[in-house]
Each structure stands twice: as C-alpha cells, then as structure tokens.
C-alpha cells in the first residue's frame, strides 16, 4: 500500500530554487512588458519630435495668414484653418445634440425589445465602419442625390455621422455610471422620467458627456479620408463668406454652402508634391494638428480623472 502523499514528500522538491525560478520568470516578463512600453512611447515621442524639428521653424504669422501658393515659401494655411473651424462648428452642432439624445434614449428609455437591439447593433457597427465609407455615403447621398454640393455643410454632416457613435457611447457610459441611489431618490419624490433625466441625470452626466464630445471632435479634426472623398479641394485661395454681416439679421449661413478646405487635406496635398519646401509646410501643419489633438485628448483625460476623483 503506497501512500502518495509520502511519495511526494520523498521527491525532495527544492522549494528554494522553484521560488527563485518563478520570480525570475515573472521579472523577465515584467521587463519585456516594460520594454514594449518604452519602445511604444519612444516611437510616439520620435514622431512628435520629428514633426516639431521640421515643422516648428516654418510656423509664423505669415504661415497662418497666407493662402496656399504655388511657391512653397509663400504657402500658408489660412483657408485651411478657417475651413477646419467652420467644419468643426458644423460637426459639433449636429453630432452633439443628436448623439446625446440618442444616448439618453438608449440608456433610459428604450424597452428591451428587438427594435432596441437593432439600434444598439447599428451603433456598435457604425463605430467600426472605416471613415472612408462615410465619405462614400456623403458623396453619393449628400453631394449628388441631395445635390448639396461639395460644401462645408456636407463635410460637417459627414464628420458628424462619423463621430456620432463616439458621443452616443460616451453619453451612455456617463449615464450608466450614475449611482442607483440618485435615480431612486428622484423617482421617489414623484418625478416623471423626463424630469429625472433633465433635472438630475443630465447635469450629473455632463462631465462624462463633455469628455465624449471632446474625444469625438478631436477625431473629427484629424479626419482626412471622408473629406477627400467628398471632394474638398486643396488649392482654395479664398475664404468662405463670413457668418457675420452688417445688415439684419446679422447672421448669414452662406458659408455652409461654400467650397472649402481643411488642415489635414492641406497637409496631405503638400505631402503629395515633389518639392521639399511643401513637405516642410506639411510638417508645420502636422505640428499644429498634433498639438490640437494632443491638447483635446489631454483635456478629455483630465476631465475623466477629475470625475473619478469626485466619486
């Protein structure tokens, strides 16, 4: 009759060296992980550094106030950054209200039925659709079928559709993270659903929704592919009409129907030219774009950090 427990004891396992080997293995992996991390960060920094090295010297007041030109030294991004601002404004004006509304509906109102499932699957899927497909949608539908032309309005709408899933998801997450006690208290005093949402849930979810909006806009600023597909031109030597005018009603919307360009397009166009001078201008544009997106994403991260601190 063998006693297996005794047999194991008899094996004389060298516990010391087992522990040492285990720790070594863990240490080795931790080092590998750390190295991967360092390489990633290094590449990111190299990218930023390269842009800054080449591009920053090129940035000047002239650069910001000149139109694109056939001569590399005179090229500037005036029409590009004005175009970006106008398009971003349109995008935000469309995407944020619709996205937040859709997020509220999906999180607070929708019943558990097949219709809701279809909507949710759609939102998830749209988040993964390549941006250029949105460009094709805009080209076929907005530019031609609806005859809206290759304008600021179409660009704004297209980008709004693109970032809609981001805002919807951010809104849902923000609402979902509101503790159940607040909901019960609000319903408990006799509020109806819209009162609970508008008076209590939305104000509390505001920072989270804001984060989502910032992330969405940051994505939209850098998007090139859909805008190319719509047909933004890069040699725009004029500005869209100003939204402000002197006569009543002091606001006009002509600028929505104007051709335009945006910074990523300008950058792409300059990259495609053979002259090195244009490549430098592209780098300068890249620096500005990088700074903007890094700042916006950094802001979103900071707000998220503050939210977590609050709870």
């Amino acid at each position: 009759m063998t006693n297996s427990a005794d047999a194991i004891k008899a094996e004389k396992i060298d516990e010391q060296s087992l522990v040492k080997k285990a720790n070594r293995q863990d240490l080795r992996f931790a080092i590998i992980g750390f190295i991967v991390l360092l390489v990633t960060m290094f590449i990111l920094l190299a990218l930023i550094a390269d842009f800054m090295r080449v591009g920053i010297p090129r940035i000047s007041v002239d650069f910001l106030t000149n139109y694109p030109s056939r001569k590399p030294e005179q090229a500037g991004i005036l029409s590009a950054w004005v175009g970006t601002s106008l398009v971003m404004f349109t995008t935000a004006a469309v995407a944020v209200p619709i996205g937040v509304a859709a997020g509220i509906y999906l999180e607070e109102y929708s019943p558990k039925n097949w219709m809701t499932d279809i909507i949710e699957i759609n939102v998830t899927n749209l988040a993964g659709v390549p941006s250029i497909i949105y460009g094709l949608l805009a080209l076929g539908l907005f530019v031609y079928t609806l005859r809206l032309g290759q304008t600021v309005l179409v660009a704004g709408l297209t980008l709004a559709l693109l970032i809609l899933p981001i805002i919807i998801v951010a809104t849902r997450e923000a609402l979902r993270s509101i503790p159940i006690e607040m909901r019960e208290a609000a319903y408990g005093i006799g509020a109806d659903k819209w009162q609970v949402v508008s008076m209590y849930l939305l104000p509390t979810a505001r920072p989270g929704i804001l984060t989502g909006a910032i992330v969405g806009m940051s994505r939209a600023i850098g998007e090139t592919a859909p805008i190319i597909t719509i047909g933004a031109l890069a040699f725009i030597a004029f500005l869209p009409p100003s939204p402000v005018q002197e006569t009543f009603p002091f606001l006009n919307f002509e600028w929505l129907h104007s051709p335009f360009t945006v910074m990523p397009i300008q950058m792409f166009n300059w990259i495609s030219r053979p002259q090195a001078g244009f490549h430098v201008a592209a780098a300068a544009t890249g620096v500005i774009l990088l700074m903007m997106t890094l700042l916006m994403n950094g802001l979103a991260i900071y707000i998220r950090y503050r939210i977590r601190r609050r709870t």
Binding site: E181, E184, A185, Y187, G190, A191, D192
Partner: protein, 277 residues
C-alpha cells in the same frame, strides 16, 4: 398644516370595516392578498394587513423575508426595473384606488407616497434645492409658497435650526444623520399621504439613530408612517402597529404592545426571542 386641519381630514375619510376583524381607527391603506414576483421568483405571498392613518406601522422580520419588497410595493419602486409583477391589491384611502394596479401610473402613486431610503441620498444640490425638489417636480414654483414649505418641512424634520443659515450650501456638507433628516424633509415637503421609511437608521450612528427615532414618533401626528427595520427594539420603541414577515409571508400583524408581549404565532415568538434572524 396644523392638528386641527389634520383632524378635519379624519372626518372626510371612511372607516372601513374588514371582513374578519374590526378596524381600530381610520385606515389609510388596506393590503389585500398582495403577491409580488421578481420575474418568476415569488417574493411576496398573499400579504394582508392594514395601515392605520397617522400611526407608525413597523415591518420586521429576518433578512430576506421581503419587508423591503413589501415597502417598495407601496410606491411602485419595483416598476423601475423590468419583469416585475404585482398580484392583489393595495387600496389607498380616501381615493379608494388600488395603487398596484397596472392601470395606475406609478408616478402618480409616488406623488402621494414619499420614501426615505436606507442610505441617505440627497441630491448633489443645495439644502434648499433638495427640499424644494418635490415641489418643483409638481410644478409648484411660487417662491413664497416654496420658501414657506421648505421651512416647514425642515422644521418637521428637526433640521431647520441647524441649517437655516446655510440653505444654499451643498447638502453633502451635512453629517450622515443630518443628511437623512434632510431626506425626510425632502419627502415631507410635498405633504404626502404616507411616508415610507426603509431602514432609515441602519447606516447611522447611535446618536443620529436616536434623533431620528424621536422624529418618527413626532411625525406620526402629521403623516402616516410605515417603517421597515431589522432592529426589533427599534420597532418596539417607536411603532404603534407591527407586522412580522417571514419568507415572503405576513405571519402576524398586531398592535406593537401585543406583538411583543403575547404573539400568536410560534415563528413570531422565535424571532422576537432571538431564536433566529
């Protein structure tokens, strides 16, 4: 609202005799064969009892017996979550309406019946805004009326003296016990027909607990109170009537004095003497 005005209500309300027992005073709510299901799980089994007007009714029992489930049926809290089902009736007087009927909008029930929760949950707003919240959602906005009502409610909740100089400061600046009294004031402000208290002191220290127990006995003259508590002694101290629940069934319902000295059911006896629970 003063005692005379309250007394006037009593004249309006019917005295409803039950089938097999005499009622002992004006009745605010009658629970008839109430059952409740979380999806397929049955949590309440044919509960029957009375809630007497301007009395404190305590619901006690071991954990998991369904006392919170029963309390939350009164203000239709279960309707906030899917797949829940009521059977039976909870008749509210003087309206004489079954408030758990699917035809009755839960929101309207909550306009009449207020609740204070286990963990104090004031809104992230000022003290004033918290108490006024119930009025605002009812569309009552006239400043003088709201101001007066806020003061009255805070006074009834024994909090006015402590906060009257900082009504606009955040509710989160108050201690746990004060926050709970704020929640009581918030529930009282719209002058509900019934106030439901779901283990209101279990998250509080003994001193804050004592203050709230004192408050509850005072408030009973103003509003009908139903309180769930896991603390038997608390029930014995502050309630007029006690209901003992076990495994989703209402085992016994008596005047508190009788329940604790001479309970009819063996299970009640065992629970009260600490044999289980």
């Amino acid at each position: 609202m003063n005692v005379a005005q309250r007394a006037a209500i009593v004249e309006v309300m019917p005295q409803v005799p039950t089938a097999n027992a005499e009622t002992e005073g004006p009745v605010r709510a009658r629970v008839i064969d109430l059952s409740f299901y979380y999806s397929d799980k049955q949590a309440l089994h044919g509960v029957n009892f009375l809630v007497y007007d301007r009395q404190v009714t305590a619901i006690i029992g071991p954990s998991g017996c369904g006392k919170s489930t029963l309390l939350r049926a009164f203000n239709r809290m279960h309707d906030l979550y899917p797949d829940n089902r009521y059977e039976g009736q909870v008749i509210l007087y003087p309206e004489e309406i079954n408030i758990v009927s699917p035809q009755v909008d839960p929101m309207l029930v909550r306009l009449k019946i207020g609740m204070v929760f286990q963990k104090p949950n004031p809104f992230p707003k000022s003290i004033y805004d918290n108490v006024a919240a119930g009025l605002w959602v009812r569309g009552i906005r006239k400043k003088t009326l709201v101001d007066e009502r806020v003061e009255q409610a805070l006074t009834q909740a024994a909090l006015w003296g402590e906060v009257k100089d900082r009504l606009k400061t955040s509710a989160y600046g108050l201690s746990g016990g004060q926050q709970q009294r704020l929640c009581i004031a918030r529930a009282l402000a719209p002058d509900p027909e019934m106030l439901l208290l779901d283990e209101p002191t279990s998250a509080l220290d003994p001193i804050a607990t004592a203050r709230i127990e004192e408050l509850v006995t005072e408030l009973a003259s103003v509003v009908t109170i139903v309180i769930v508590t896991h603390n038997m002694q608390q029930a014995a101290r502050i309630s007029n009537y006690t209901a003992f629940m076990h495994l989703g069934q209402m085992v016994e319902f008596h005047k508190t004095a009788i329940m604790f000295t001479n309970p009819s059911d063996r299970r009640t006896q065992d629970y009260i003497t600490g044999r289980f629970g």
